[in-house]
């Protein structure tokens, strides 16, 4: 990771408390002059370790693969791309500090790849002061394009409400009538379960109960029992990481899927690998899957396999799409300064691995297709894979501007 910065960073450390101030100042001047012509710096304060380390590692690879290919083509606007990737361990305090360092010390005005919603929400209010653009590749929290929206924020990925919406649109066509909701006990879980409950009721079906589990829950049997008792046809899950794996494993051990269909807001390859056959039959919205049959995706998956040996994972694809949107924006703007890049990204349309992505101006949400997948066994793969069973056009899955709920 960017070895050329080590000397001055070490100097920093020495300066830190001793106050030998002058050492670092010339570096700052030099960096500012470079901003117009030097490499395009993209800052990524990512949770590479900690509970969501898996997700952060995927975003990192997605961005790195893009930067590698792009630099092989001569960068953007003739300027090489430099990724500044640092670990936040999923702690908002670290994330803000790292982002601030990227902005203040390394004169980087582009941020992406932040992992947790709580990290993103802590960074967003500072974007104006920093004169920086933050383009989200994976953050699902609906608030980022609603209550907490700021002009320098863009979202290239599918948000939580959009994923939930795809599930509920799919369910309108199904003959299941009674639903239960199980979400992780934090903002994302509450928001998505809220949207789902609302959708179910508007679809004239029955919502029989919901429950929220704290992250780090080890035993899901009380919840599994409640779901079974509710008599629901299906349970909608808003879970991820270790919690998702624990729930899916234990649900299978209790034979829950034989009685109750499992639906999920997000189908993730890492989870499928971790729980194996316990994921079979899971139906859910997909943020990204290598199985999408889109021309650009087939090309991307082939290139990825050549590089890494495996097909790309959920957040690798999501982050890749984000980088492609960013790339188009920079080319259109002719630079990375917020004042130029913001209007360039607004109403930008990009052809991507998921089809067309349209960055609408009103709340900077990327309008894109919603995919429903089912986890199945497939010849040639050791673990089950998600297969697309339905798609919904972006104008149906994207909420009204600056909103998190739907009207129809």
């Amino acid at each position: 990771m960017s070895g050329q910065f080590r000397p001055s960073r070490r100097a920093m450390l020495k300066v830190g408390l001793a106050g030998a101030a002058t050492v670092a100042s010339p570096a700052i001047l030099r960096l500012t002059a470079e901003a117009q012509t030097g490499p395009i710096k993209i800052g990524m304060p990512v949770a590479l370790t900690g509970p969501l380390g898996t997700v952060g590692q995927q975003t990192k690879r997605g961005a790195e693969f893009w930067a590698k290919l792009q630099n092989a083509k001569g960068g953007i606007l003739g300027r090489p791309i430099e990724l500044l990737i640092e670990d936040t361990a999923g702690n908002p305090a670290n994330c803000v500090r790292k982002a601030q360092e990227m902005v203040e010390r390394r004169d980087c005005r582009l941020i992406t790849g932040i992992t947790l919603s709580s990290e993103a929400l802590a960074v967003v209010p500072k974007l104006g002061e920093w004169d920086s653009i933050f383009i989200s590749g994976i953050n699902g929290d609906g608030r980022l394009t609603a209550d907490s929206f700021v002009p320098n924020f863009f979202r290239a990925n599918i948000s939580g409400p959009m994923g939930t919406r795809a599930v509920s649109l799919y369910l309108r066509k199904s003959n299941m009538t009674k639903f239960y909701g199980l979400g992780l006990d934090y903002a994302w879980g509450h928001n998505s379960i809220g949207v789902f409950e609302d959708e179910v009721k508007r679809g004239k079906k029955e919502f029989v109960g919901k429950i929220f589990a704290p992250t780090g829950t080890k035993d899901y049997s009380p919840y599994i029992t409640k779901i079974r008792q509710s008599g629901a046809d299906a349970v909608f899950l808003v879970m991820q990481g270790d919690d998702n794996n624990a729930f899916l494993s234990q649900a299978q051990q209790y034979r829950l899927p034989e009685k109750v269909k499992l639906l999920t807001e997000i189908v993730d390859l890492a989870s499928i690998r971790a729980v194996g056959d316990a994921s079979l039959g899971l139906i859910g919205s997909s943020r990204y899957s290598f199985t999408y049959d889109q021309p650009l995706n087939n090309e991307f998956v082939a290139a990825w396999k050549k590089e890494y040996g495996n097909p790309p994972d959920t957040f690798e694809g999501e982050q890749w799409q984000c980088m492609k949107v960013l790339e188009a924006g920079i080319v259109k703007a002719g630079g990375v300064e917020a004042a130029k890049l913001r209007p360039a990204l607004e109403d930008l349309e990009v052809e991507s691995v998921k089809g067309k992505v349209f960055m609408r101006k009103c709340d900077h949400q990327g309008v894109q297709q919603g995919f429903m997948v089912e986890v199945k066994k497939k010849a040639g793969f050791d673990t089950p894979v998600p297969e697309v069973i339905s798609t919904f056009p972006g104008d149906q899955t994207t909420p009204p501007c600056n909103a998190m709920t739907y009207k129809d």
Binding site: M12, V96, R105, P125
Partner: protein, 326 residues
């Protein structure tokens, strides 16, 4: 007082004054991000110093000191977001509130001693954590409070909202906190705390109501820890549940031990060391936690008195060799 201790004290004072001058002049020369780091180090330093009163001077090992930091941060953040109170007022009000809560916590936790005391402090901190998670209307739940402003207020304290101004506010709190703590540990009250640290049963037998002293020191440590938290909220612009989590409680204990418990200055250095190490190591390698862990183990084995012990050991060594030359 022997000659060499007097020499040592004078050198110590001189070193402190030099350090203070350097810290006061720092904003003139340091680039913006160095100021950001320095401000955070100062705030964390105050936090670690507050724990040192309990841990280093009274041997009250708290596993839940994050409660003070998080409570101060949430209280200050809430006031700044919802009441339009000026920054200074919100910061000190939050510190006072935390200190008041500290009286209750102290009363409860001092029912037990030893490891049970530690676990009660942990229980209390985790309950606050649970509350911060669940009381969404006030705390913002898992998202926390974001976009906390540095409201200037009517009395022309506008300078405080700037980068350097806020740094001076934090530095003033640290220096003020240090002077308060130093006076405290050198006072009759402090002598009793040391008594409790070395032999609580004897202290009671001498006629001290040790439990009241312990409650008092918990409340003071909470107040100062709350002050640090109250500074952090407007510094970082957010307050969230991580600030109340047990991991931070563990980390601040380590800061105190790495710096040198029972020295006040040591924990401040320990906090700066911890924060800068984590920041830099994680920039260089993903496996930073591995090196971090090894550093702690090395400290225990090779520098049992912590950073302060190393520093004073070096200074003492120079003094001794200087004396030998004379």
């Amino acid at each position: 007082m022997s000659r060499s201790t007097r020499v040592k004290t004078t050198t110590g004072m001189a070193a402190l004054v030099v350090a203070l001058v350097v810290l006061v002049l720092a904003p003139l020369g340091l680039p913006p991000f160095a100021m950001t780091l320095l401000t955070e180090a100062v705030i964390l330093g105050l936090f670690a110093m507050s724990l040192d009163l309990m841990f280093g001077y009274t041997r009250l090992v708290s596993f839940g000191h994050a409660a003070a930091y998080g409570l101060g941060a949430y209280a200050c953040g809430w006031m700044l977001l919802n009441t339009g109170m000026p920054l200074l007022f919100a910061v000190f009000a939050a510190a006072l509130l935390t200190g008041a809560v500290g009286i209750g916590v102290g009363w409860m936790c001092t029912l037990a001693t030893g490891v049970s005391f530690s676990m009660l402090t942990l229980a209390f901190a985790q309950l606050l954590y649970a509350i911060s998670f669940k009381w969404t209307s006030v705390t913002g739940g898992s998202d926390g409070l974001a976009g906390i402003p540095r409201t200037v207020g009517p009395f022309g304290f506008a300078a405080l909202s700037s980068k350097a101004g806020f740094y001076y506010l934090a530095l003033a709190c640290l220096v003020g906190g240090f002077l308060v703590c130093r006076a405290l540990v050198r006072s009759p009250f402090g002598a009793v705390l040391r008594g409790i640290r070395e032999n609580e049963a004897k202290t009671t037998a001498l006629g001290y109501n040790t439990r009241l002293y312990k409650i008092a020191v918990v409340a003071i440590a909470y107040g100062l820890g709350g002050l640090a938290g109250a500074l952090y909220a407007p510094f970082a612009g957010f307050a969230n549940t991580e600030l109340l989590f047990w991991l931070l409680s563990g980390q601040v204990l380590i800061m105190v031990i790495v710096g040198g418990a029972g020295t006040l200055i040591g924990p401040v250095l320990g906090a700066a060391f911890f924060m800068l190490m984590e920041h830099q190591l994680s920039a260089w390698t993903e496996a930073w936690a591995l090196y971090f862990g090894l550093i702690f183990i090395a400290f225990v084995l090779f520098a049992p008195q912590g950073i302060w012990g190393l520093a004073t050991g070096l200074a003492g060594g120079r003094l001794r060799s200087a004396e030998q030359r004379h």
